[in-house]
Amino acid sequence: MKRAIKLKDKKILDSVHNSWKALVSLLKTLYKGMPLLMLTFTLLMIFAAEKIGSNTTFQLGMLTADIFLSAIAVYFKSKNYGEAVLALSAGLLTVYTVTWTPAFFISFILVWVMFTIIVFLTTSIRLSSTIQSIYMEAVFAIEQSQLSDKECEKHLQAIANDLKDCIIGPIEKAETIRLFAYRKISLSEMKIGLKWVNIFFSLTRIPYLDLADFVAVVIKNASVLNKRITGDMLFEHIYSGMKNSPVTPQEYIAIFQRTRHLLMKNKNVVLYFDTLNTYFDSGISPDSIEMFFEQALHID
């Protein structure tokens, strides 16, 4: 536990250091690559600041746009119209009542820009350290990996980064991978699992961790998977059944969660999902669901 906390603290410091290094190296690279363009850009910025600073109409326009954007940001964050409109009114009222001098305007813009940069930087560092600590927990949950902790973490991050056109965010991807690690899904199967969590999430909007659990149970109990029968084929079959069944995806997953132990017992995943689809069409009472599944899945 202590090792994990120490590692986490170290990761946060590393993140700050790495971000700073990346910013400095970006500026250096830009200056080395295009020195004339960088100089022109800086001079242009100074010129624009000087022009805007001496023109009251420009100042008011910029400040109004600034207040407007801030109010929009408040609305998207809080989803509360009252709060956003209050922020907008207070901001506009202040902007229109103050007599703006160039010194006032420059100090306002400077503080505003610095605050925004610091907030964005802090948010990105916090996000990065949260993601790294989730991956670390996943690494600890993976058993008997032949890779070192660092290699394993890199491998997990590569699995997440390989996923293209994804709707789920970086934290959601990391949490999904961590759940797969807890469920002892192999590294090679995590990629296909993550892909299908993303597809199911975009199509059904069921909470991603419920979907990750669903996908993990399917992968873990699919004895049918081999070189010829891929995870894609299996999940396409499952999705087609889900789409054609006369219930919502939420109801489908709810019934799956009630009967998953029978899939884990029999491990005949195709038969299980065909039985699930038959159940929805049969009109059998939910009280008799277990008996129905037991009868349908029992072969010996």
């Binding site: 004895s223 010829r228 084929m233 195709v270 038969l271 072969i299």
Partner: protein
């Protein structure tokens, strides 16, 4: 071996009465997933029986029939798929 001969063997081994056309149609309609999983289940049952051929033969018929019923397929078609 001709298709007709293969169908005849599948019928003999499973006691199924389906025609050649029905067996072939059933095989072509069967998805790869069903083919693979049903074959795995049959294989599991046959290995579990582990008996000499004369004693295993009636059980083989029964096992194929049982699995075919669960997967809603023809037992002779299942035999064909399993042998493949």
């Amino acid at each position: 071996m001709t298709v007709e001969q293969q169908c005849e063997i599948a019928r003999l081994m499973t006691g199924c009465k389906s025609s050649n056309d029905e067996i072939l149609k059933n095989i072509s309609c069967m998805s790869d997933l069903v083919k693979e999983e049903a074959s795995l289940v049959v294989n599991r049952l046959l290995l579990r029986d582990n008996l000499p051929f004369d004693r295993a033969f009636p059980l083989v018929k029964y096992d194929f029939d049982k699995v075919a019923q669960k997967y809603k397929i023809n037992s002779a078609a299942l035999f064909w798929v399993y042998m493949e």
